[in-house]
């Protein structure tokens, strides 16, 4: 297939996944900030929402302080924020138009309808909490519909695999970012363990990657920070864990390699990351520093994006 088509499919999936992640981040932050101050401590949750979205720096260039109003607007609707939900959907639609011939009609319909709704219903943002909740649901449902229609209607060929690469690379990045910002509340240090403050922080992390219920099914325990970290990093059964993303990335890259009859640096790099995840346990990770581990992962993950681009997309 055309390199540009593959590139568009890859970015299309990334934008949709990012939009959903932003919606989840806002949703989770709203829940934490709705708690009485005693439960959330002194941290500014809207500030960490910006950090997990990776846009804190650009935000503070035009804003003094982060609060619900301006962060929700910045993450959801701002035209100035290149990765606001609105811009993600706009970019997704633009990418979809460029690769219409490679999309199934169901996928196109999902993105195009979302774009139409964005303009018709959400062009002025949201004014009430209720509206905002509706908007966030709309974004998450769009992502579910897109993902579902890709899964159910696309031919299993390189178009599908490139789209999945985008999805899993973005997802791994998102999960890693939330861990990067919140790693300190996951540290098994005396003073943190068991406080009400941390309980809500942990559940908020889980919620932002839709893993709160999963946690209980996997561990059948009350929330423990190292188990939260274990779930998000190493547990291959959780679709948003780093391990699961890399299972998928290596598989999709292998499928491409087989179809094209040759392997390359992307396959090797992805396999390397997956092996590292497979042979790690939380003890070692905490020993060597969870923060360092995550930061290294983020760098490795974005390196994979560069390698894929070089090998296939340009």
């Amino acid at each position: 297939m055309l390199s540009r088509t593959a590139e568009n499919l890859y970015w299309l999936a990334r934008y949709v996944e990012r939009a959903e992640y932003l919606a989840r981040t806002i949703d989770a932050t709203l829940r934490v900030t709705a708690l009485p101050a005693a439960y959330i401590g002194k941290t500014n949750e809207w500030d960490s929402a910006l950090l997990t979205a990776g846009v804190a720096e650009s935000f503070y260039q035009t804003h003094e302080e982060a609060n619900e109003h301006n962060v929700v607007d910045y993450l959801s609707f701002s035209a100035d924020n290149p990765s606001s939900i609105r811009n993600c959907i706009e970019a997704a639609r633009l990418n979809s138009r460029s690769v219409r011939t490679a999309l199934t009609s169901e996928m196109w319909d999902t993105i195009n309808s979302a774009w139409i709704e964005l303009q018709a219903v959400w062009s002025k943002g949201t004014s009430t909490r209720e509206d905002l909740a509706k908007f966030l649901r709309f974004v998450q449902e769009t992502s579910l519909r897109f993902d579902g229609s890709a899964y159910r209607t696309m031919l299993r060929n390189d178009a599908y695999w490139f789209s999945r690469l985008g999805l899993h690379l973005e997802r791994a990045d998102n999960t890693a970012r939330i861990l990067d910002v919140k790693y300190h509340v996951l540290l098994p240090e005396e003073e943190h363990v068991g406080g009400p403050l941390d309980f809500y922080q942990w559940s908020s992390i889980l919620r932002s990657v839709s893993a709160l219920t999963a946690y209980h099914w996997v561990y059948r325990e009350t929330l423990k920070p190292w188990l939260v970290a274990d779930l998000l990093i190493l547990n291959g059964t959780l679709p948003r864990s780093l391990a699961s993303c890399y299972d998928n990335l290596t598989r999709n890259l292998d499928q491409i390699g087989v179809a094209y009859g040759r392997q390359g640096p992307a396959q090797r790099h992805a396999r390397g990351i997956r092996n590292r995840l497979e042979h790690s346990n939380m003890n070692d990770i905490f020993q060597h520093g969870v923060h360092e581990f995550i930061q290294e992962f983020i760098a490795d993950n974005s390196r994979l994006g560069e390698i894929i681009t070089k090998q296939y997309l340009i």
Partner: protein, 472 residues
């Protein structure tokens, strides 16, 4: 202006045969049902994303072309005549182009003046002596046809460069069949759906000699911001060919390749929807980011077929248009089946004098304009506009032609106050391959939705209709 030819009603109260069943159906169908269908159609267009962009319009960058649900109907007999005339016209266009870029018999015979060719910016000296595969220049032609009476078809304009609109012909039919299955059941409408197949086989048939048995065809688009982008992606999809942009193509050793995830792949035929000027920055506009550096040298080496060929603009130029009847006679020795609109060439002093005296009655068009931009419609213009135009005309008479304001035929159309006649034209699409010329029965009917308006261009508020050719 004469009374417009009504395609449905015969003066005196009778209906033309092709419209009898439609009229019966309209009588049985309550207006609300029609309105409901109209809204449904609009929703479908929006969801499928059948939009176009209007340049210079900042309000909304993508718009729908209004779709009128009342079909425009022609009898099989009328179509047979029209089809014959279109094939004749396109054959002559191709022969004219071949001649202009080779022997120039027609200039030597004094039929078309030299300076009209050589001083024309759309004449491409690069094409002099260049062999194009199978001598086909215009593979896809869109000939704009109007009617002023029951007998004649008149060519308003030849489009021999990159005519658009065929996706609307196909989508309009799809949507009509979805919305009005009962109406179709009561008619025998000739299908249009084989157009993509015929286009693909025409394109494959003109592949260069060096191409493999199964030539690789690609559609070259300027990209998503082009006003006809939807059509480009639609056609690529229907033809099952790659939709490429300039940056997807590279030229190596005078061969054209596309960049794929598996390395580069040779391309044999390019159905290009990029204008000549932007095709190759090394030959034409150096600032073009839409083109492919080196494409013209691959073309000159005979390793790639461009459809349509480079330089076809010289055949559909409005100044050349007025010579078309002579051109048909010169190459084919036949009387032209399709008529021309009477045209005054402002470059000729006698004609200019007449035009200046009758500005209020005439339509004056820029020779190189298109899309309905930059023209004067005398009867509809204010005094001030006419005077301003007069100055423009005097300054650069060779840039203009003038025609009488024609009463384009009318068809019943949905309006805010119920069904009413509105002016229409028709653009059938003529495909020329190495062996045959084909036309699917129908075309794109454009309709001027505003009462009394004669401007059917989509960029100027025109709409479209499904066009039915009855299979009798």
């Amino acid at each position: 202006m004469a009374v417009a030819f009504d395609e449905m009603n015969i003066p005196g109260g009778d209906l033309r045969p092709a419209y009898q069943e439609l009229a019966r159906w309209l009588k049985e169908t309550p207006p609300e049902a029609l309105e409901y269908r109209r809204q449904e159609a609009e929703l479908l267009f929006r969801r499928i994303g059948i939009t176009f962009a209007v340049y210079g319009d900042t309000e909304s960058t993508e718009r729908l072309i209004p779709f009128d649900v009342i079909p425009r109907i022609m009898s099989g007999k009328e179509w047979t005549l029209l089809e014959k005339g279109l094939k004749q016209r396109v054959r002559a266009l191709n022969m004219f182009l071949r001649d202009i870029y080779h022997g120039r018999d027609i200039l030597r015979a004094g039929i078309v003046p030299d300076d009209l060719i050589f001083q024309n910016p759309v004449f491409r000296p690069e094409m002099n002596g260049q062999q194009v595969p199978h001598d086909v220049y215009v593979h896809i032609a869109g000939i704009d046809i109007i009617r002023v009476d029951a007998e004649d078809f008149i060519v308003l304009e030849d489009n021999a460069r990159t005519p658009s609109g065929v996706s609307y012909m196909l989508e309009n039919r799809e949507i009509m069949m979805r919305l009005f299955p009962d109406l179709f059941a009561r008619h025998r409408v000739a299908p249009v759906e084989r157009y993509p197949d015929e286009l693909l086989s025409a394109l494959c048939s003109v592949a260069p000699n060096g191409a493999s048995g199964e030539p690789t065809v690609a559609l070259l688009t300027p990209g998503v911001y082009n006003s006809a982008y939807y059509e480009h992606s639609f056609l690529a999809d229907k033809l099952g060919i790659e939709l490429v942009e300039g940056r997807d193509l590279i030229v190596k050793n005078n061969e054209v390749f596309m960049r794929t995830t598996e390395g580069v792949k040779r391309v044999d035929v390019i159905y290009r929807r990029v204008d000549d000027d932007f095709l190759d920055p090394l030959t034409f506009r150096p600032d073009s980011a839409l083109g492919v550096p080196g494409l013209m040298s691959a073309y000159a080496a005979g390793n790639i077929t461009l459809a349509n060929a480079v330089g076809t603009g010289i055949a559909d130029d409005k100044a050349i248009y007025s010579y078309m009847p002579e051109i048909v006679k010169f190459y084919l020795g036949e009387e032209p089946i399709l008529k021309n609109v009477q045209t005054w060439r402002c470059r000729e002093p006698k004609d200019l004098a007449y035009v200046l005296d009758h500005l209020g009655d005439l339509v004056v068009k820029e020779v190189h304009g298109s899309g309905g931009y930059g023209m004067l419609i005398g009867p509809a213009a204010t005094k001030a506009t006419i005077e301003a135009f007069r100055e423009k005309l005097k300054r650069e008479p060779e840039g203009f032609i003038a025609q009488p304001t024609l009463a384009l035929s009318t068809c019943p159309t949905c309006t805010a106050s119920g069904l009413a006649p509105r002016h229409v034209d028709l653009r059938p699409f003529v495909l020329t391959g190495s062996k045959s010329t084909t036309i699917v029965p129908g075309g794109l009917t454009r309709v001027a939705l505003k009462e009394g308006s004669l401007v059917v261009n989509s960029s100027q508020g025109g709409g479209t209709k499904d066009t039915w050719i009855l299979d009798e």
